[in-house]
């Protein structure tokens, strides 16, 4: 049981709730989502509540994350894109804090479940589609018709473009989920090797230094992946929002 690498992803019900035959129990996943949102908001609120002209260390972390997301959005979608800043910043902070929370031992990694990441991705694509149609009407469909394509090929190209567009939420969610899932399983498997090897006497204990070193290295890598995936998620969100703002006229 302790060595089961999948065990860490199990959902357990903390408060059993059942409304009209619908299972809406408060699970450990919900608990960590609430904790993630609360921690992120509390950190940002507390570090910026008594701000000084010369920022303290924590205040400059908040300011750096703001600047980071703001410049990313401005680069990808222009100044018009800044109206989506609250969305992009919330998504970035949620994914980042959820990934980092997952690095604590015994903590649950919210982003290692595909339904969570898929709903985040659908939120992004839903915003793109709704805003695109609201702003440009049917002109939003120009997104699927590249310029300078011979008339015969247009149906084929449009079909491919539409499928490519529909695949965005899937690739966006699968990437985040797969990274977190694979990383945490690898970490657990290598850590499990230490236990099972050191049970085999002196040679095993000496040999278990190898998986221990690997686990330490992987932990570092996982921190990198936690940041990188939050960044990639936010960058792609910006790029997709850019399509909604400028679908080409």
């Amino acid at each position: 049981m302790a060595n089961d690498p999948i065990h860490q992803f199990q959902i357990s019900k903390l408060v059993d709730l059942n409304i009209g035959g619908l299972d809406v129990s408060f699970t450990n996943s919900s608990l960590f989502m609430v904790a993630t949102a609360a921690a992120a908001s509390a950190f940002l609120y507390m570090t910026t509540s008594n701000r000084g002209m010369v920022p303290s260390r924590l205040q400059s972390i908040s300011e750096m994350s703001y600047e980071f997301v703001a410049s990313m959005l401005r680069d990808a979608a222009g100044t018009q894109g800044m109206r989506f800043f609250p969305l992009v910043f919330s998504l970035f902070m949620f994914v980042l804090v959820a990934n980092l929370f997952g690095m604590f031992p015994y903590f649950f990694t919210v982003t290692s479940h595909i339904i969570v990441t898929f709903m985040l991705a659908m939120l992004v694509i839903g915003t793109v589609v709704v805003y695109g149609f609201m702003k440009h009407g049917l002109g939003f469909l120009n997104l699927f018709v590249p310029h300078g394509v011979p008339g015969v090929l247009v149906p084929l190209v449009v079909a491919i473009e539409v499928i490519s567009f529909l695949s965005r939420p899937i690739s966006l969610s699968v990437r985040l989920f797969a990274n977190m899932l694979a990383g945490h399983i690898t970490l657990k498997v290598f850590a499990g090797f230490i236990v099972s090897m050191s049970a085999m006497g002196f040679v095993g204990v000496v040999g278990s230094i190898l998986p221990l070193a690997m686990t330490v290295a992987l932990t570092g890598l996982e921190f990198l992946v936690a940041f990188l995936q939050a960044y990639v998620f936010a960058v792609l969100t910006c790029m997709y929002l850019n399509d909604a703002i400028h679908p080409g006229h």
Binding site: A159, S167, S171, L228, V232, G248
Partner: protein, 117 residues
Amino acid sequence: MDETTNREDADLARRRASLDAALKVRQSQEAATDQGRAGRDATGYGKALRLSSEFIAGIVVGAGLGWGLDKLAGTAPFGLIAFLLLGFGAGVLNVLRTAGLVQSAAEAQKAERSARK
């Protein structure tokens, strides 16, 4: 008196200009090495995962659409065959676009607009 001040001013301006130039060269070099390092370590791993997920997503969506169409219209298995191929095309397009080898429609139009100006 006036002449010496002028000469000193001109001298100062020249020195500032040369320092500016030296600083700019140095900064651009530092930026280039920083980018190169980040490009090798972090983004290489991220890019590999990104490219593969884009490709697979295209195929999965194509197959899903074809399968759903077959269910609705009862055209099995032709919808699945056709849309799987289209999905393959979309997957390749996704990968090329992610790798920056093909412009997206919006980018192409943006480039066209700026060229026309």
